[in-house]
C-alpha cells in the first residue's frame, strides 16, 4: 500500500481516475484547496505520490503573490521551503508549454492532460514512477 495525496477541486467529478489505484490497495487523501493543503502539510510531506492540479481555489489560505496557477506556486513552496522531495504527477486541464517547463524544473515526474487521462493511464504512470524511485517502498 502507498499513500497518495490528490490535490484538485475537480476530484468529485473525476474521482474515478484514482479508482484503479484504490483497487490496488493504495490510500488516497483528497484535498481540494490550497487552504486544505496547508492544513495537511505533514500528510503531503510524507506521501508516496502527490497528484496535483495547477488550477486550485485558495480556500481559506491567503497567498502572497497570488496567481492563476496556485498549484504550481504551492509546489514551489513545498520544494524550496519545506524540502518536499516526493514524486509529483500534475494532472490538469491546462496545456501551456511554458508552464510545463516550469513544472519540469520543479521536478514534476509526469504531466498529464485531464482530458486525455484515464484511470489506467494514471495507474501506469504511478507504477512507473514508483518503479523508478526504488526508495519509496510499499507500506504495510
Amino acid at each position: 500500500m502507498r499513500h497518495i495525496v490528490w490535490l484538485d477541486d475537480d476530484y468529485d467529478t473525476i474521482g474515478s481516475l484514482v479508482r484503479l489505484l484504490q483497487r490496488d490497495g493504495h490510500r488516497v487523501l483528497r484535498l481540494r484547496t490550497v487552504g486544505e493543503a496547508l492544513d495537511h502539510v505533514t500528510d503531503i510531506l510524507s506521501c508516496d505520490l502527490l497528484i496535483l492540479d495547477v488550477l486550485l481555489p485558495p480556500g481559506k489560505a491567503v497567498m502572497e503573490n497570488d496567481d492563476h496557477y496556485r498549484g504550481r506556486t504551492l509546489l514551489r513552496t513545498f520544494r524550496e521551503e519545506w524540502g518536499f522531495n516526493r514524486p509529483v504527477i500534475v494532472c490538469s486541464i491546462v496545456a501551456k508549454k511554458e508552464l510545463d517547463a516550469e513544472l519540469e524544473a520543479l521536478g514534476v515526474a509526469s504531466i498529464l492532460r485531464k482530458t486525455e487521462t484515464t484511470a489506467s493511464r494514471l495507474k501506469r504512470e504511478a507504477d512507473r514512477i514508483w518503479r523508478e524511485r526504488a526508495e519509496i517502498p510499499e507500506r504495510t
Binding site: D10, D12, T13, I14, S16, L17, R19, L20, R23, R30, I93, K114, T115, T117, T118, A119, S120
Partner: protein
C-alpha cells in the same frame, strides 16, 4: 472562439468610432488596453479622412507619423480622466476614459485649436520643430497649417466634443460589459463541459475495461454504470441551467403553481427513494385550487427542479427515519401588501454556515461542508434558481440549524401573484 469574439469586437469598435466621427465631424481614435497587454489604437479610414491638414502633412513623413502614433498611444495610456490634452506637435485632443473589467478604453481625438489658447499650441509646435530640426520651409508650411486648423471656442467644447464622445463611449463601454458577461458565461460552460465530459470518458473507460475482463458482472461494474448515469445527469444540469437559461427568452403567463412544484418533486422521487428519503408535500390551496401565478413556466420549472434536487442530494441517508424526509410546503403569504405565495424546501443533511447564506447563490460556489458523495453538483443550480426568482420579482433565502445528527436546512421562495406590466 476568442478570435471570433475579438473580430466581432473590432468590427463593433470601428463602427462606434465611425459613428463618433460622423457626430463630431472630426478625426478620432479609440485606444483599448487590457491589463498586462500592450494597448492598441484604432483609427478607421473614415476617421483619417477627417484629419486636419496639419496632421495629414505630418503623416506624409513615415518618421513623423510614427511619432504622432507613439504620442497618441502614450497619452491614451496615461489618461485617467476626461479632458483636453495638447499633442506633441501643438493640436488639442479631447479624451474620454472608461474602465470595463480589465479593459481600459480611451476615446481620443478632435485635432483642433482652442480659441484663446493659440499661443500654447504654437509654443508646443516650436518645441517639436526645434527638437526635430525641421528645415525652415517645412517649419513655415506646418505652422501655416496649424494656424488654419479648426478652432473651437471653449464654451462649444461641451456639445461639439464632450457630449458626443461621452455618448458613444458609454455605448461602447456597455457593449464591452455585455460581451464580458457573455464571454464569462461561455468560459464557465466550456470548462464545466470539459470537466464533465472528461469524467464521463474516465468512467466509460473503466466500465469498458471491466466488462472486457472475463468473469461475471461485479459490484464495482454496477457502481461504475451508476456513476456514468449520475454524471450524465450532471451534464444535463449544466446544459439546462447555463445554456438554455441563457438562450431562451422568458415568456410570462398565468399558470397554476401546484403542477410546477409536483413536476419537480416527481423528477427526484426515485433518487430520494434510493437514499431512503421520502418527500412530503403540502401546498395550500385557494378555493380548492392551486393558486395561479404569473410566471415564465420553463424558467420557474427549472428553478423548482434545482431546489428539490438540492434538498434530495444534500439529505443524509443514514439518519433516523423521522429525519429522512424532504418537506415541500406552500402557503399564501402577502409581503409588503403584495399578494404572493411562499414555497419552502426543507431537508436534513449537509448544513450551510451562516457566512455562506449569500455565497451559495454565487455562480460556481459550493458549500464548504459539502464533500465527496454530498458534493455532486457544479455549483450553478442555486445561482440559476436565484436569478429566476429575481426575474419573477420574488425573494429567496436560506436558513440552516444544527440539529445534532444533521442540519435542518430550509430554502424559502416567495413569488408575487402578478408581475409588473413591463415584464409581460
Amino acid at each position: 472562439m476568442s478570435n471570433v469574439l475579438n473580430n466581432e469586437e473590432r468590427q463593433f469598435r470601428e463602427a462606434c468610432l465611425d459613428l463618433a466621427v460622423e457626430f463630431t465631424g472630426m478625426g478620432l481614435g479609440v485606444y483599448v488596453e487590457k491589463t498586462g497587454e500592450p494597448g492598441e489604437l484604432t483609427i478607421t479610414p473614415n476617421s483619417r479622412s477627417r484629419f486636419e491638414g496639419f496632421c495629414k502633412y505630418m503623416h506624409n513623413d513615415p518618421h513623423r507619423k510614427a511619432l504622432c502614433e507613439a504620442d497618441h498611444n502614450c497619452r491614451a495610456n496615461t489618461a485617467s480622466d476626461e479632458g483636453l490634452q495638447l499633442c506633441h506637435a501643438g493640436l488639442y485632443n479631447y479624451t474620454v476614459c472608461y474602465q470595463v473589467g480589465s479593459r481600459k478604453v480611451v476615446l481620443i481625438g478632435g485635432q483642433t485649436c482652442i480659441e484663446g489658447q493659440e499661443a500654447e499650441s504654437e509654443a508646443r509646435f516650436n518645441e517639436f520643430a526645434d527638437g526635430e530640426n525641421l528645415p525652415a520651409d517645412e517649419r513655415a508650411e506646418l505652422l501655416r497649417r496649424l494656424r488654419q486648423s479648426k478652432k473651437i471656442r471653449r464654451r462649444d467644447l461641451h456639445h461639439r466634443l464632450k457630449r458626443p464622445l461621452r455618448n458613444i463611449g458609454n455605448w461602447y463601454a456597455r457593449y464591452l460589459e455585455m460581451r464580458r458577461n457573455f464571454e464569462e458565461t461561455i468560459t464557465n460552460v466550456a470548462h464545466d463541459f470539459q470537466i464533465h465530459v472528461t469524467a464521463l470518458r474516465v468512467d466509460a473507460d473503466l466500465l469498458c475495461s471491466d466488462l472486457e475482463a472475463p468473469g461475471p458482472i461485479r459490484r464495482e461494474m454496477r457502481e461504475e454504470a451508476r456513476d456514468l448515469f449520475n454524471k450524465i445527469d450532471r451534464l444535463r444540469d449544466v446544459v439546462e441551467n447555463h445554456l438554455l437559461g441563457y438562450l431562451e427568452a422568458p415568456r410570462f403567463e398565468y399558470r397554476t403553481i401546484g403542477p410546477i412544484v409536483h413536476g419537480a418533486i416527481e423528477a427526484y422521487r426515485s433518487q430520494a427513494a434510493e437514499k431512503g428519503v421520502r418527500i412530503e408535500v403540502d401546498l395550500e390551496l385557494v378555493g380548492n385550487r392551486s393558486p395561479e401565478i404569473e410566471m415564465a413556466e420553463s424558467y420557474l420549472g427549472r428553478a423548482m427542479h434545482n431546489l428539490v434536487q438540492n434538498a434530495v442530494k444534500y439529505s443524509y441517508h443514514g439518519l433516523a427515519d423521522r429525519d429522512r424526509v424532504v418537506r415541500v410546503t406552500g402557503r399564501v403569504e402577502p409581503r409588503h401588501s403584495v399578494v404572493g405565495y411562499q414555497i419552502s424546501f426543507e431537508n436534513f443533511g449537509i448544513g450551510i454556515d451562516d457566512d455562506e447564506r449569500e455565497l451559495i447563490f454565487q455562480r460556481g460556489y459550493q458549500g464548504r461542508r459539502t464533500r465527496d458523495e454530498y458534493r455532486p453538483g457544479s455549483g450553478n443550480g442555486l445561482y440559476f434558481a436565484r436569478e429566476v426568482i429575481y426575474l419573477h420579482q420574488g425573494q429567496i433565502s436560506v436558513q440552516s440549524w444544527d440539529k445534532g445528527s444533521a442540519f435542518l436546512t430550509r430554502f424559502d421562495v416567495w413569488l408575487p401573484y402578478e408581475q409588473p406590466k413591463e415584464q409581460r
